[in-house]
Amino acid sequence: MAVSGRFVLLALLGSVAVLVYPGAVSILLWLAFIAAAAGVDLLLAASPRRLRVERRMPDSVRLSEAAVGTLVVRNDTGTRLRAVVRDGWQPSAGARNPQQRMTVPAGEARSMDVQLEPARRGILKSGHVAVRSFGPLGLAARQRTLPVPGEIRVLPPFHSKRHLPSKLRRLRELDGNTSVQLRGAGTEFDSLREYVRGDDVRSIDWRATARRQDTVVRTWRPERDRRVIIALDTSRTSAARIDDEPRLDTGIEATLLLAVLARSGGDRVDFLAFDRRIRARVDSGGKENLLSRLVTAAAPLEPELIEADFSLLPGAVHAVSARRSLVVLISTLDSGAVEEGLVQVLPRLLEKHVVVVASVRDPGLDGLRRGGGTTPAVFRAAAAERALLDRAAVGAQLRSMGAEVVDEPPHELAPKLADMYLRLKASGRL
């Protein structure tokens, strides 16, 4: 039950009657009149209970892009439906026009488009559709909330895509596909071909030369079909907001760039997100496009306010691949979290794998560090220095154990991690 502004106006009109014939009688009569009018209107309104509402909408949308969620309202009642319909999207779904007026003749169906501009990554939901069905007089309405669950997966935006062309070019240079043929670009034997002027004499294959009459050189290509395992930390340290972006989102960006790059480089990419348990997993064997599977898996990830359990990492990595792999751990270098967890398990990982630890560095600390002039500012500078020294110490410790460390500010992390991958690939350490 709901009333319209028209009903309130009708009631206000009653004040004329009360003014002309003051007294209880005119009040009661006018009350009876408007109540009767509303009652008739309610009786003639289409029952919202008997409507059938369906959703038609895309499964997913990239953050920063718009989507349209369509509601189809089928009117199975015998009367015409005049209604205000509201789609109950959560606020961060950014519904521009969730509430719309619609008229559906008896026995027909009409659709209503809701423009969505999601404000945040994740799975955004709408649990219900509320219908307010007015009678022909437009005075009173029957209202009902219908459970029509719907959700849309808002995928990470993959801003780091813009770094991809330059990194791919570097990869192709390694691959020997370009005209510039460099000795040592790659470590895996590819083929034999005739010697041409300008080739490095050290690459002449003497045994093959002896078999043929020509001078033959070996060519190399970068190693292929290696495994890259990206482990993304979703524990409490990933909740930290650096440059207005949570560490987790920066990690996802870096993951996407590295995965696409490694895939183009012919490697097999596995992804897992973990804190105290595995939160998401994408394996290299799937049929679908790797990028779409990755963004789908990463979309619902959220920082959990619990400590990461690094001890599950060796087992998880072993389950993915028993062979030598490149393990990229996207986590943090905060001293407390790493010293207790990562440092303990790193030797076990390093026995078999190449490990890269990637971390987002806070540029705010550098700003604090440069402060001075007042006592509080100097104390802040000292605290920032202490944090930076601690990070440097942890980084040095990890390096001394044999891991590679990438510690960069948010917008630098993805390209620098890609560079690290290219460097390792070029030197044949995968």
Partner: protein, 412 residues
């Protein structure tokens, strides 16, 4: 609904601030903090107390102090305390009453008493005045109105005002009344009256129909004094004012000094209800508007569908831990610790920039920094290794010098 909470490195289960606060109040430390706060705000608190005391004292004094004109308890210039005290000193029983019932009871207890009737504001009704006139043997009126005269002394009539300039006139008795003759000359302003006996006539109005400041009935059962000046503290001592006042008021053993007040106003019929003056349609219309307002509230207030909840993600500012640590340093005045950290960081950066390698000692870095910045070794050594700050101010200067050194050494 999850909201922004938590802090990297902080414990999840910390006490709520309210609990911590109440704990603090219970402990001796909390009490001493309260005492400290009291000491710090000593001067404003004292001033506040003083102000309260002054206000209280003035209110108290005012409540105790009679300010009614011609009141026997009022020592102000317009009071009549002097007259009453002197009369009492002469053996007259002065009974001061401010309520009609008390005055009437006093008159009945003392038959033949003189009633001094004072009602300049006209609180009493005609019937009340007549009752009072019946009860009183002899009545003295001061500046009575026409109605009061009609009830107490119908033979005496009002005759107007003495000229306003000057405020008081010297008037001679000019009649055969004993009291007036005893007074001789008075100095008074106010009103004039005509009666069977009229004295202190207004200059220029002598003759048959003269008006004066003193009028009385033939037997002296009612006396009208034309001016409060004759009784008031300010002017009772002028000329023969005192003689006239004392003789008029002190004629009997008892003087009932009655001052009418607002409490004597008789309860009249129920006052007219202002709402009864409104037109008949106002109440129904207001009721109808109320109804329409309720309907409008329902119209606007009815929500279309339930509230939708938004599961907010956890948000933590990354530099929060550094800020927290800075505040810890500051609260514990960890100047030495902060300086050591700044020095270590500067040394590390200098060593890295000057390519000294991991094995370089303090002295190597100092020497290299001195070379790179162009300063002397002694000066650099003093800054880096000798002159460690002890106070906050020193720390600020030292940190600035350290930064300067670093910039000089790394810019070249």
């Amino acid at each position: 609904m999850r909201v922004a909470a938590g802090k990297p490195g902080g414990t999840a289960e910390s006490e709520s601030p309210e609990e911590a606060h109440s704990d603090e109040l219970r402990t001796p430390a909390g009490r001493s903090r309260f005492a400290g706060r009291l000491r710090r705000h000593r001067v404003p608190l004292l001033l506040l107390l003083l102000l309260c005391a002054v206000v209280l004292a003035s209110v108290w004094g005012r409540a105790d102090h009679d300010t009614t004109p011609l009141s026997p308890a009022n020592p102000a210039p317009d009071g009549a305390m002097a007259t009453a005290e002197i009369l009492a000193g002469q053996g007259v029983d002065v009974q001061h009453h401010e309520q009609l019932a008390e005055a009437q009871a006093a008159l009945e207890d003392n038959p033949g008493a003189t009633l001094l009737f004072l009602d300049p504001a006209g609180f009493l009704t005609s019937e009340q005045r007549e009752d009072l006139a019946d009860a009183a043997g002899r009545v003295v009126l001061v500046e009575p109105s026409l109605e009061q005269l009609a009830d107490f002394a119908p033979q005496i009539r009002s005759a107007g005002l003495l000229p306003q300039e000057p405020a008081r006139h010297r008037l001679d008795a000019g009649c055969t009344n004993d009291d007036a003759e005893a007074a001789g000359t008075i100095e008074a302003g106010g009103k004039t009256y005509r009666g069977p006996v009229t004295c202190f006539e207004e200059p220029g109005s002598e003759g048959n129909d003269a008006a004066g400041s003193y009028a009385a009935t033939k037997g002296g059962s009612a006396v009208v004094l034309g001016s409060a000046d004759l009784l008031s503290n300010e002017s009772v001592a002028l000329e023969g004012n005192a003689a006239l006042a004392f003789r008029t008021l002190g004629a009997d053993e008892t003087l009932v000094w009655y001052q009418a007040g607002p409490f004597d106003v008789p309860p009249s019929e129920a006052p007219t209800d202002p709402f009864s003056l409104l037109p008949a349609w106002v109440n129904p219309l207001l009721f109808w508007f109320l109804l329409v307002a309720a309907l409008a509230a329902f119209w606007r207030g009815r929500r279309l569908g339930p509230l939708v909840e938004e599961p907010l993600p956890v948000v933590v500012q990354a530099a929060e831990t550094a800020e927290g640590r800075a505040r810890l340093y500051q609260d514990s005045h960890a100047v030495g610790h902060a300086a050591a950290t700044l020095r270590a960081a500067a040394m590390t950066r200098l060593a890295a920039h000057l390519r000294l390698g991991p094995g370089a000692g303090t002295d190597d870095v100092t020497r290299a920094a001195a070379d790179a910045s162009g300063r002397s070794y002694a000066e650099t050594d003093h800054l880096l290794n000798q002159r460690l700050p002890g106070t906050g101010a020193e720390l600020v200067h030292w940190a600035r010098d350290l930064k300067d050194l670093e910039e000089e050494a790394t810019s070249s």
